[in-house]
Symmetry: C2
Amino acid sequence: MTEQTAPPTSAGEPTTTRGEQTRLLIRDTAMRLFRERGYAQTTMRAIAQEAGVAVGNAYYYFGSKDHLIQEFYAQSQVEHHAASRPVLDREDAFGARLAGVLHAGIDVLTPSHSFAATFFKTAAEPTSPLSPFSAESSGPREAAIALFGEVLTGSTTKVDAELRPQLPELLWLAYMGVILYWVHDRSPGQTKTRQLIDGVVPLIDRLVALSRLRVLRPVTRQVLDLIRTLRH
Amino acid sequence: MTEQTAPPTSAGEPTTTRGEQTRLLIRDTAMRLFRERGYAQTTMRAIAQEAGVAVGNAYYYFGSKDHLIQEFYAQSQVEHHAASRPVLDREDAFGARLAGVLHAGIDVLTPSHSFAATFFKTAAEPTSPLSPFSAESSGPREAAIALFGEVLTGSTTKVDAELRPQLPELLWLAYMGVILYWVHDRSPGQTKTRQLIDGVVPLIDRLVALSRLRVLRPVTRQVLDLIRTLRH
DNA sequence: ACTCGCACTTGAACATGTTCAAAGACTGTC
DNA sequence: GACAGTCTTTGAACATGTTCAAGTGCGAGT
């Protein structure tokens, strides 16, 4: 169905095959127009015209308008990783690391809030390849989960042995929740989302610490069993 | 922008004003086609043709194709209320009541799983009037929250005084979470969602009970303060 | 130099959600 | 019963995402 002729370059652009430049041109033009006019207001015709190519050409590189969104995700993910580096290198307390990475994620997304919000709906559709849970998104998802794995491995906090392997994914899930809130956040500068992060991180921190207590073991196990059951 | 000439009848259809029958005809035809073919595969032209009216006529009653979804919500909400009645009349333990109402909600939605899933994305868009958080949805939302209020008022369980007023909304939020999981649930008959409900209700139950303990008061308050801050 | 194959490009044609000016139908008024 | 006003209905026209058959041009093989 979708053309997959040109595999996306993983990091920089070292070997530009023939059409690779066109691909990048279209992608960047689209991103610019999305930012300038919003997603819905940016027509494929406008993207093509602005990029100086034919409409069909855009479809040669991107299966649909939605696929341009995926490009945005991928880009954001890489930026998120980069933006998290300083905190991860500096902090060693679990809470500080987690807060840092969550804030970094929102930092990266903030300039796009107005238009990102309008198209995050596409991600909510289960059948869409753009869903963060879909097989097609497994690449970026794994990368994101790995980032939260790093939050954990670099931290000094002790974590319950049974909880530990599940935790990165759970933290990523919490991050998805933060983004869901952020998308709906109408407060100026999305300050509410910042408050959410600052409020919720200590709770998670405390919860993780408590999970090691003998008295709470049954509860911890109960929760973990449930999660294991629920995920595919 | 949108025509609001004919206010929707709240419960039955006692006084059918002139065009009311047409409205119902179009609505029911749309629901049937959604169920038969799915949301995306059902064109406005098909709805109009099948209902025996002109395309523009459908737009006279429903501002957009998406607005037909809202009709579905409203309908489901009423059914959910009705389906919850038996449990609420029978049970008096908090956990049993909550589980009953959650299961009832999924019961009502189950026949529509295949097509409901594909359009729940519209609800995820913050700017959409279809968002469960939007002002336009406040009617159904209030009704739904009231339903969870009833879960609480009819129960024998003691609840922390500070938590009590917030709890119905929190339970509704949890219900939204269950639906989000349900939408993505690919297990046959969505049995995983049932497991989610059965697994999560005891946890909520225990949490609510624990909230009254003096030792946990600070945490309870902290959580409640955060929630108060976060909601508009 | 020629030509063959394939990556790339084109733009008209198509499908479908949405709009709108005009026409039709009903209700109350005189 | 004619008239005015409003509610309802119509269908053609429009906007935009998407498809596709037909080109275009570059590089390899001869």
